[in-house]
Symmetry: C2
Subunit: 297 residues, 2 copies
């Protein structure tokens, strides 16, 4: 049974693991994201030690914060590219890991990784076209279309779509440094905290904040549904831990679409159309494991 | 050399043709869209006559107004489904053509057909992920992702994405019967005519109407770019005959994205990123021909 390495590379922390599959993660470590040299160095140390114990890994998968270059035909493949995160712009990540450890490396965005994990073992099994969204300190989206991970020109940047914003009923201007009141500028965690002066965890589930949050999330979902026609939308991330959001935003999506899309999945079975990740908080690391499996093929 | 049949099925008129490729359309006929029985009947008569002259066609492709069911695994494959167009809801189209003429039939949306035509012979050659949009009496969008036509749950309905609308500077409420001021409610032909009291052809190219039109078109393009990361966007349809729109909306897209997507195609080469169809008004019928070629494979 081959063993794979997995790196869930987040802007705040990294998680590294080794295992043969979702029910067999044999080693795991997590550490804060500091400088690229130190953070990638800790990844290399972890996997070097593991390889001394268990032998050569079949491949390592990296599901990374971005933007990244996931194009295997590009000279910049495997780089974290234009991130505003200090010190990380233009960081050679995947090639550095492959060179140091002598193994094939799979590399993609965190959300594409999570989508792949959900496709193999979670809420997207058997689907060919679906979207995975994370709503936390930002909004990120990825997924599969026609059975393959979404890339295109770079990769989707779903957090930056532009949605209606009624400044009379909600004068909050949005926090996105590039676009102000784009989707993540209005609906990600920082917007919630600035608008209400506190984190979601401290507000009761029937506070009006949640209806407004569901409204903005639903506006973005409608745009993704109309642009991509996904067979399912999986929504993870810190904000979506607030379970009361799901029924609110499902209803808002139906109201906004107003019966235009005559799909039973949306009209009658929306509880199974907009869902949390079946892998929960493990979607990221298991997605990285799935990226490793693809890299070794 | 095999001969193919092509049906460009529009809500206003149909165009049927026979040929071996884009430079060899040997017969062509066009007629208004009336009832399904009459209109499809005229298609059948045309192709029957053609088959008596040239022998059996290798396949017929249909690029149709919608919504349609393009899923070959579905019992409703080949139907025009929930269209508000009188008499056409739940019309068996593709199977009826195939049964009557004894040939394989390829069937998809008009915009997916046009996208396929542009991929084979036009502005999308060599690309794996791109979008084809038509802006006319409505807005429709299709395309290829990872080298295959976009379907998913149904097929994209890009005209109905929701975009910011400042009612103070533009009080026009939109005409979409389902969503009011969705993208096509604000930016398709009927919106232009209701807002300005006349058709675009009668306004000079420097009229402020064009800047506002470019603004709304750009809002939708930004959303499509962020959701899908296309390698190129091809824009056809009656509205895009107004060539002055292209430079205006390219600049608006750059302004709205505000440098967030560090892709040379957008930052420096946007003239080749947002383009008219290379096949011009032939994109539809040639797309249907390309659908025929796929159906015969």
């Amino acid at each position: 049974m081959p063993l794979w390495g997995a790196i869930e590379a987040g802007g705040t922390k990294f998680l590294c693991a080794v295992g043969s599959g979702p029910r067999d993660l044999r080693a795991e470590t997590t550490f804060p994201t500091t400088s690229p040299a130190e953070t990638i160095g800790r990844c290399l140390s972890f996997f070097s030690e593991q390889q001394q114990k268990v032998g050569r890994l079949a491949a390592i998968g990296i599901a990374s914060f971005g933007p990244v270059d996931p194009d295997t035909a590009s000279p910049g493949w495997g780089y974290i590219t234009t991130t505003p995160k200090k010190g990380w712009a233009q960081t050679d990540f995947a090639s550095a890991v492959g060179r140091a450890l002598g193994v094939p490396v799979g590399f993609d965005t965190d959300v594409n990784g999570a989508a792949l994990g959900e496709h193999r073992w979670g809420a997207a099994q058997g689907l060919s076209t679906f979207v995975y969204l994370t709503v936390g300190t930002g909004i990120g989206g990825g997924g599969l279309v026609n059975g393959e991970l979404m890339h295109g020109l770079i990769h989707p940047e779903m957090g930056h779509i532009l949605v209606p914003h009624d400044r009379k009923s909600d004068p909050y201007g949005g926090w996105c440094p590039y676009h102000g009141d784009c989707w993540e500028g209005l609906a990600a965690g920082p917007a919630f905290e600035e608008r209400w002066g506190q984190r979601g965890e401290t507000l009761p589930p029937d506070h009006p904040a949640w209806a407004l949050e569901a409204h903005y999330l639903a506006l973005g979902l409608v745009n993704i549904i109309c642009a991509l026609s996904p067979q399912r939308i999986i929504m993870g991330g810190g904000m979506m831990q607030q379970q009361q959001l799901f029924p609110l935003l499902r209803r808002k999506v139906q109201t906004l679409l107003n019966g235009y899309l005559q799909a039973p999945a949306i009209l009658r079975d929306i509880d199974n159309y907009i869902v949390p990740p079946a892998l929960g908080r493990r979607a990221g690391v298991l997605g990285a494991l799935a990226l490793a499996q693809i890299a070794a093929q």
